[in-house]
Symmetry: D3
Subunit: 323 residues, 6 copies
């Protein structure tokens, strides 16, 4: 089972100019064959199906650690898509004008507006839904690791290309972070394969052949050593990952390390404002807020919401009373 | 982001007589339209896409809490499938005999054997992959809750039918637990709708119209009060769920409660033995164990694996030397 | 079995400025998960699979009545798409010029032009085909009704958003009508659930929370009382629907009624002109007309076609000889 | 728009020995690429998209007439599947025993039991859902007719093979009828092509090369002349079909005719008994019946249900009190 | 088994102005239901499954001959897509600038850039993947031929429309050639049906009703007699095709012939330049070239590559050093 | 373009006891994610999309050579499925008895009988169609090779498991051959990666960890050196493959070689007898034979069919007159 921490693994910029076409492209990193849902669910299913866990504990611990991080990547891509879609529909006295979506006709993924509430979807950049055929879980440890190394390679390709295509600040912050963390996972799987077979795969790095030190948005994370560190994403478990994840980084030669802390500190998410034109969270969001306030009071909760959100978060009332 | 706890939410019996046809049916609860992947990913995407979190905090906290529990349900169904498939292929001195899968021809889901390593798949009972079309995330809070109430209703239907079809002890333990916990989620969504609209939906329970107190495998969980309790599945967050989840249970009249503890205690998973006929975790599992042992030693880890598994867990060596 | 009446359930405006991107969006109401194919086929399959029809006759009659109306909605959306696509390709002396589709490259759903003849498709706004996974037919009457209430809610969401996105007169006439009629179905299913369970669901209306009286294109239909009336769509059958469909309308308090007449009067469809650039109904439509005329004569049919079409219908010869 | 007549186009035998594996095979005729959903929706979409209706009226009328008949075929296949599944689960004092579905594990289409209520599904014999890619609507009349002739050929193939595979009386009655009626449609499309092009396609009959007079279950329908007759399935419209559908039948030389009456007389459907093990129409069907009876009384309806069902229809109470 | 000849069946122009939106449309001819993958794989599977080959040899030989040609059509469409995508991303000193794909956001098929390397995909014009449901292989020779005639008709429709929509020189050269060759296959299947049944189908030509002699890009191929000639695509086999493929061409009356030579002479493909922005064939293509050169030397191969490419082929170094 | 040689790459045994359930399992090697359609179409698309062919010629030649061999593997799997299905339906005086498919109800892939003519399908072992999402063609040479190495690993897994599940002689002959040839491709891609990157991947062999010398059906091919040899499958092209494919075999140390001859000698296919119950090649196959004979005579062809088939091939007349 899992516990949820209501923070993102890294900070994302708040909404700025909306970019619906860019958001449609970023979806590739969410619901594409090489998107984060794929990395997440591949490793998760492999960990569920792992036989002989005690006997092969370090490898099981590796899969569990990486799998758990990937949930946070799905969350990050979703937050990015939501950020990029914010503001794409107009607000008029808290109500949507009559043709509020007219300018979006023919732009981006129509489901962002017609089916969803300017929110992320389990779909790729073509609007096709993620599906379970994207999960490989053969049960054969060497094969699964071979697959995972390949999957991370394909994922890196997709991230680089989305980086090149989408200049929105949120997309750039996202891809900068994911390239660094994906790089760690790519190394981890290659190293695990080496440990099991003796093959030397380090010369395959980087693949694609762009070093992350050429990408500006990767630098803050590299400077914090995030390219060397594996988190266990567990308070107590998965400690044996260190038996596999060690040795020099293939590109920099620095030593790989398992982090002491269970997870990166991260940052609170931005509380995105309502988009009443798409009924998110409703046609009259202020009524929902009012009801919530009453329920909170009845339950003896403090006047201010107890949740943590970023300092950029909108005051939902402000957004709604904007004329 | 999430942390993983390497325990199941409830105890499952260890492998007994294998049941490949039953495992194929249980897959409906994993990758079916109303399976646990659907409940998990629906609520997770809805929480990612939630706008005005501070304004509508109790509802956000409710979605996050339930979403997070659902991961554990996916894990439980997967463990059940794995348990039921264990032993379906013979072992001969640690090696698979030549026609090791011959008796499985035409039985169950062929991907359990031909594609996977006698492990769970993101597929339904017909072998069709789960897909993102099963996720509904309109952004409209009332609609999303209406959907979720319906989804839990459909999920309860499927669980009851799998209960009736599959008598394997693991499947029965699974469905007994899931029916109780799914019932809590069904009530929670109906209650949230009541809070937002004033509609009185409690007379819709139970739906389907079988009270869980008629199902023997539900009783231990009901006796522990699990039918009344919502876990937050977070150390500190999601505390405002209590503003929504309260009042009498529609069937028993007992008071609903938010648990003090973040999650149920649960139980360690069984470490399932290798199945070399399908190369899980390899054709020669003992070599993997040997390598792992060496890596563990090099890393200064204790001689015994540090992970927690159930007392029923197989000694992988024992399994492999069985003639 | 069914009989077909060659009229639309409501009047649609004739072709005006073509709107291929809008037509692609309107497809969501045809082949989307919440489109009219879904409502139609859900209720139709539920009626086919209804057990204990005599025992539960009023509910069976309700499903049959609504199911049958939905066919007409599919027909209306299709007619709207066809109307909006008419004129999107040029006509030159009855023949398509060489690059007749060049301006449509990259606009709308490419299958409207490359695969079809500027006609409606069983696809959604992303060009993905409708599929049978969108049908829910559990056989459990309460569940099916719960589903149907939810389905109508999602359908209302989609209609409102298409209304906001597409300003073409045909699209507006369509959504105005469908919102009113869909509202009747939404109420009908909620009322049926109330009758079976005693739950009070009326406070869920409207959902989404926009009253139809705020939408101009709904008003003519509301003024004719179409928001209160259920048609049986049968000469003699389905009379027991009145045992379920009655009581006050949740938004207006007016009494719901079962119409005396089997179906709305409706209006004839516009006979849309040929589009020879996409070979509809042929590269040389006048030759088809000539053959048809000869066959009609041989069969002793009157000189003028016997079918009923709207007064706006094109003279196909006129269209073809336009320079 | 359409009106529904609550009768089947031909009589089907009442439930006898259940045949779940046979029902799974019969699904090919419902949701398969060449199943009745395909014929129905192909011709329906082609009629919706028909341009120049007045100019090419006889062909439009032909498409509409056949399309409308196909609805009744979908209804017939569904009724057959329902009939064959009836009795597949046991009834014990009106309640399902604990392992009521155990014997069905591994048999037939699992969705008949786990997802549905022993009812028909929009799926093929492999459990894959019907989808919109099966619809061809090019707008080019000659092409659409070429497609339709081919589609009927493929449909005839599938019907013959289901006939050979499934011996259940309902399946045999179904295929006997459909082969005769499908034969009429196959001829109609070939004849329409001949009229438009002058090609002589009659020597393609029968295709596959089994004359229906070799199939015993076809004989009653042939004796009634059903192999020669096209119904318009409309009170007043589609009269110009006679300009196309005429001339000699390619196999018998008899003259083709357009029926005077709008539709075949048909027969009432059997009211199939509840199957409480799958909650159809509920876990406690007698309660639904009781509620319905009360609602009927309140509405001033007669004591006996007004609907028409076959004389073989079960008394739902009888079924439920069987011990 | 097959041998590959590294030439295209006809000459294509070299890259000129890139046309990503056009390339997305051309994909319909590759991965669409009526695209070349469909014709190729339909006839190929039918030939694999052909029973009684010796007894029905001329028909088997016909299927094999046409099937084999279709591979070359898939190759041609792919080359066209690749040609049209060449140059869509900028090159700066052999390296991709930071936002190299920014101008492509929202244009064409995003997988051409995000997933692939500006290359062809097994997808249609909507970005949906080709799938095996598009293959019809009933085993019944007459039915399979009926299908194939229809398939070629639909394919001709799609080619004509792509011709009308896409004016890029490569697309026009492609469709001009394919229309002529597809016409031969359409005639061949109709003729085969005539031979087997006696039906006279020649009046169905052309379908759609545009004679290829109205299309300028068809003329060079018609002048070479390519509209009359069937190639066997085998050194020695499939000689009996001449027993079926003979008689007058339905449009021109000229005699159909089986070519003496096994295949058309064709032309070498253009060696398309690297596109480093999408890492094709790598981020630093010159390094790959250098390695290849070294390997060639070690293997004793001549200094110049031995492969045959068109005279328009880029010098990869030139492309990379362009500023 | 390609030429077709009407021989199989290796000899398959003639039909013996039919094995429909086994044939359904073997389909995984045809239409599964790791089946031969996937290997074939992956490498083929990669070769179509290859940029800088002259610069990277040895790698292009490698892809083309292997791609072309894979066609023959698809052909072999298809022939195996056809062989295993032969005889599954009875023949009675050349005509199918009335319930000819009754014993096949619930066995194997229903499409083998209901949709096809006891022939191979582009589907996997679950009856799901192959689709274009299984093709990876990134354009990045290193990535594509990484993918291909992984794909061959997964393919080897599937072949081994089908070997274990299906004992039919044709399936065993097939998997014995494919394991040897797939092994060559697995080595080739790993070697190519080594050449490009310097990584040493040879210790990954064999993966899965079963040496082919433990599998009896591999031995004849190993003895002929087929595990060391790459064929170019071209008369003249692809000669530079020798610059990549060389060095020691990772398991045996023997030197890898590029074959002098373009392709293996192979063997003629068995001409499989008609199966009239499924109309393959027709309901009355002898009539087709008779027509073919007449056409052959008219064309001046010799009395005996000119095609080459194996000595085990059935006399179609013999099969048909068996009582």
């Amino acid at each position: 089972m899992i516990l949820r921490i209501d923070r993102l693994q890294t900070e994302l910029p708040p909404p700025s100019d909306p970019d619906p076409a860019g958001a449609a492209a970023v979806q590739e990193l969410l619901g594409g064959k090489f998107g984060e849902m794929s990395t997440w669910l591949n490793y998760t299913f492999q960990s569920f199906n792992f036989r002989s866990r005690q006997g092969a504990r370090p490898f099981y611990d590796l899969l569990c650690s990486i799998a758990t991080e990937e949930f946070g990547h799905v969350e990050l891509v979703s937050a990015t898509v939501n950020t990029m879609l914010t503001g794409a529909t107009p607000i008029d006295n808290g109500r949507a004008p009559e043709a509020a979506l007219a300018e979006l006709k023919g732009t981006g993924n129509p489901h962002h507006f017609l089916a969803g509430g300017q929110g992320a979807l389990p779909q790729n950049s073509q609007g096709r839904p993620w599906n379970g055929d994207y999960v490989f879980s053969s049960g054969d440890l060497i094969e699964d690791l071979t697959h995972n190394f390949f999957l991370e390679t394909g994922a890196r390709n997709n991230k680089l290309k989305v980086y090149e295509m989408v200049e929105h600040p949120a997309a750039r912050a996202l891809t900068g972070y994911l390239l660094v963390r994906g790089g760690v996972h790519q190394v981890a799987y290659a190293r695990a394969l080496e440990r099991l077979t003796g093959a030397d795969m380090m010369k395959l790095f980087p693949s694609p052949r762009i070093p992350t030190d050429k990408i500006p948005e990767c630098q803050p994370h590299i400077q914090r050593g995030e390219h060397l560190k594996l988190y266990r994403f567990s308070e107590n478990a998965f400690r044996e990952v260190e038996a596999v994840f060690n040795g020099p980084h293939p590109e920099t030669g620095e030593e790989l390390v398992v982090a002491e802390e269970p997870h990166p500190e991260g940052a609170p998410a931005t509380d995105l404002p309502p988009q009443p034109a798409v009924f998110a969270p409703g046609y009259a969001p202020e009524e929902i807020v009012e009801i919530a306030q009453r329920l909170r009071k009845d339950a003896g909760l403090p006047d201010e919401p107890t949740g943590e959100v970023s300092e950029h978060s909108a005051d939902p009332f402000a957004a709604l009373t904007r004329a």
